[in-house]
């Protein structure tokens, strides 16, 4: 399906990436428009107007209302689809130790495999917020069930020792959210 974007360059890049990850084509001739508030609304077609301050709500709205059939993600049933080598496998959320972003891809790590995931990290962060997953730095979301111990680190940071002997740092920017998540 084609979609036309009418917004500032900053959001254009972000939304293009988001839409393309859901197999949408960005086209000037599309009859569905995604428009930043303040831009002129075309007379014909379907227009969705968003305010830049509520981009996260727009993304949630699109994901839940429009693209829900296109997701590889079935978080309500605690599963996600991941690519391992040339095949796709259904992964149980409880088996995932962490999600990590690396070189434009998102991977999920289980005890024995590393899967490539279709979703972006910010989408996973939002969708998995109530499933025991928490963002700990710019490139990782961790399943708290696999955290063995938290060590207070220097300058307000925290170090997580995981069950599989992996160690991850909760960056200062995410430390407060992490503590709130724990109920501190």
């Amino acid at each position: 399906m084609d979609i036309k974007l009418l917004c500032s360059k900053n959001y254009q890049v972000l939304l293009e990436e988001f839409l393309r990850s859901r197999n949408f084509n960005i086209s000037d001739n599309a009859s569905i428009h995604l428009i930043e508030s303040g831009y002129p609304i075309p007379e014909k077609g379907i227009s969705i107007v968003f305010h830049p301050d509520q981009l996260d709500k727009l993304v949630t709205f699109l994901d839940e209302s429009i693209f829900s059939n296109k997701q590889s993600f079935d978080f309500r049933n605690g599963r996600i689809v991941g690519q391992y080598q040339d095949s796709y496998e259904i992964i149980e959320l409880k088996d995932i130790i962490l999600f990590e972003a690396s070189e434009n891809y998102v991977y999920s790590l289980t005890n024995d495999k590393k899967y490539k995931i279709k979703e972006k990290l910010y989408q996973l962060e939002e969708m998995l917020a109530n499933s025991g997953f928490i963002r700990i730095n710019k490139s990782s979301i961790v399943n708290i069930l696999y955290i063995k111990e938290i060590v207070p680190w220097f300058n307000g940071r925290l170090l997580l020792k995981l069950n599989n002997k992996l160690e991850l740092e909760v960056s200062r920017n995410y430390a407060n959210d992490f503590k709130k998540f724990l109920g501190m």
């Binding site: 605690g78 959320l93 409880k94 499933s131 025991g132 708290i144 069930l145 955290i147 111990e149 938290i150 060590v151 207070p152 680190w153 220097f154 300058n155 307000g156 925290l158 170090l159 200062r172 503590k179 998540f181 724990l182 109920g183 501190m184």
Partner: protein, 141 residues
């Protein structure tokens, strides 16, 4: 810049211990030195000792997960660093070993109080973690 601000903020408790020692030194050992000089000097010493203590405690917890070893590391970290600072200032020559020992003892007492608060934080955050893990363990299985 934010990192530096946070670091300085973390140093305030240990700097405050330095101020207490400065008051002790001014009252009982060296009243001739102006109090503001002692405040500045011992505040800085306190921050150095505080940094050493925090590093010792955190690193011992990280390496061994043993609270006993972590407390021992912090105790030694405070004792050794304050001892060498006393040697550097020749406190034992000008005021005797007794004064040096009292300064070390004050630093140990207040330093260990700060260490204990770090320990409580470590215990508290891991207790919260276990509680949250219990909340989610049923949901994910």
């Amino acid at each position: 810049m934010k990192e530096l601000k946070l670091y300085l903020y973390n140093l305030i408790p240990s700097g405050a211990v330095g101020i207490i020692i400065a008051i002790f030194v001014h009252t009982f050992i060296n009243p001739s030195t102006p109090i503001y000089i002692l405040f500045i000097m011992y505040f800085l010493i306190g921050t150095v000792v505080g940094t050493v203590t925090a590093m010792s405690f955190n690193f011992a917890i990280y390496k061994t997960s043993s609270v006993k070893i972590a407390f021992l590391s912090a105790f030694l970290g405070i004792g050794v660093s304050v001892f060498f600072i006393n040697i550097l200032f020749r406190t034992h020559c000008t005021h005797g070993w007794g004064a040096s020992l009292i300064i070390i003892a004050i630093a140990e007492i207040f330093g260990m109080i700060i260490t204990y608060s770090s320990y409580r934080y470590y215990i508290n955050i891991n207790n919260k973690l276990e509680k949250r893990k219990k909340d989610f363990s049923g949901q994910n299985r």
